[in-house]
Amino acid sequence: MKNRLKTLRAERDWTQARLAQELDVSRQTVNALETGKYDPSLPLAFRIARLFERPIEEIFLENAAP
């Protein structure tokens, strides 16, 4: 699953550590999410969507999506 986390973080000029703190996860989790190595759980995806004030489907994109 692809995501726009890195772009959204860049827009706010946040470090991975800052984003991790905002989401209450480790920096490794943020890094793994951004590099596409790990897909978040549904509760974490909702937290991310709430933090960036965007719908989930605008942040996370299915690989097979047209």
Binding site: R9, T15, R27, A32, Y38, L44
Partner: protein, 144 residues
């Protein structure tokens, strides 16, 4: 924006939320207490500082109680862990349990077939501990 795309092993091993770090510290303390008491009892029995009997049995049970606290601390760490860390731990645990069951049953069968004269079950525990450690290491690398 800082772009940290690749993290070193120690960055990852020491990373985690404040809750993770606190739970890890608690878990390590209980684990060290249990392992220390376990080793002390073994040494005392081996060098005849402690005779077999009621005292040795009582100390062994007390050591097991410390082990139970370590187990509870590990469970709490898993339940409250950052979700990626929990995934890494669970993958490593699955591998360790798999190796333990497979190794134990295979060794038992090898004794029955005569290929092995005898087998000390302690080796299975050692193999499980090592495979868990290796599993965590591989998981940390995979998601870094």
């Amino acid at each position: 924006m800082t772009d940290e795309t690749r993290q070193g092993f120690w960055d990852i091993a020491c990373s985690g939320t404040a809750t993770d770090r606190r739970n890890k510290r608690r878990m390590r303390a209980w684990l060290l207490s249990w392992m220390g008491s376990w080793l002390a009892i073994i040494m005392a029995l081996r060098f005849d500082w402690l005779p077999q009997g009621l005292l040795a049995t009582t100390l062994t049970i007390l050591s097991a109680v410390l082990g139970l606290f370590a187990l509870a601390a590990y469970r709490r760490f898993l339940l409250e862990a950052d979700e990626l860390h929990r995934k890494i731990q669970l993958e490593a645990l699955a591998a360790a349990v798999g190796i333990g069951v497979l190794g134990g049953l295979t060794a038992w069968l090898l004794v029955l077939t005569g290929a092995l004269e005898s087998f000390d079950g302690l080796w299975i525990i050692v193999a499980m501990l090592f495979s868990h450690g290796i599993g965590v290491f591989i998981g940390q690398r995979r998601y870094s």
